[in-house]
Amino acid sequence: MAETTNKRLFIPVILGTTRQGRMSAHAANLIAVELAKQSNVDTEIIDIGLLPLPTNNAGEALKHAPFAALMDKADALVLVVPEYNHGYPGLLKHLLDTCLKEYIHKAVGIAGVSAGPFGGVRVIQNLLPVMRELGLVTIFWDVNFSSVQNVFSAEGALLDDSFIRRIDKFLKELIWMAQTLRFGREQVPLNG
């Protein structure tokens, strides 16, 4: 176990919306900053708005090789997802569906973002069966950015310091799960 846990973890943060003026970008930036403070963790933000997302093809032809390589390298994912009409952005689902083997037995944590009071709890609930089908393992901590316009200034400054502690709890759970699942992927046989 020691060799596995000593390896650095790569945990990218996926900014799951392409909309202009998205407040989710501030949430993703904050989580990435807090992730970078964790020991033995490397991270980067994957902005789906910067990826080509073709909709006129199918199967492997839809796959974006750099995104797939990042998913393959990842030990865990953080999804930062705004809630649009109780659901997740369609382009995020479209992108996630382009990979499968890259996700199997890896941890995922979800941060919900909403302008209303519920902090994306409905979009998180809606994403759970999708995560399961993709082979990702969800953790039981979320981050809920409710009334996000009151959490960040328009420039992205954090206005509510309580989120630092909430995000730290979320990340500690995610890192534990990432380490444990990496050990399992590398060392524990399915038919052992």
């Binding site: 393959d72 499968l100 083997k101 890259e102 199997i104 037995h105 082979g135 992927r185 046989p189 399915l190």
Partner: protein, 59 residues
Amino acid sequence: MTTSPMICPECGGEMNHHADKLVHSSEPPGSSANHHFEDGTVTEFHTCGKCGIGAARQG
């Protein structure tokens, strides 16, 4: 199910087979694409303990 270990394309070591997934197919029952289960195929997922890279193959 394939029993021979998958070999890591990076380091040549044996990979750990840690997951199977039933992938549903639109192929008709009995076709070569779904000979393991009537309604789909089993895909195996393997990870290298040295490199950490993952790979998949049809089981």
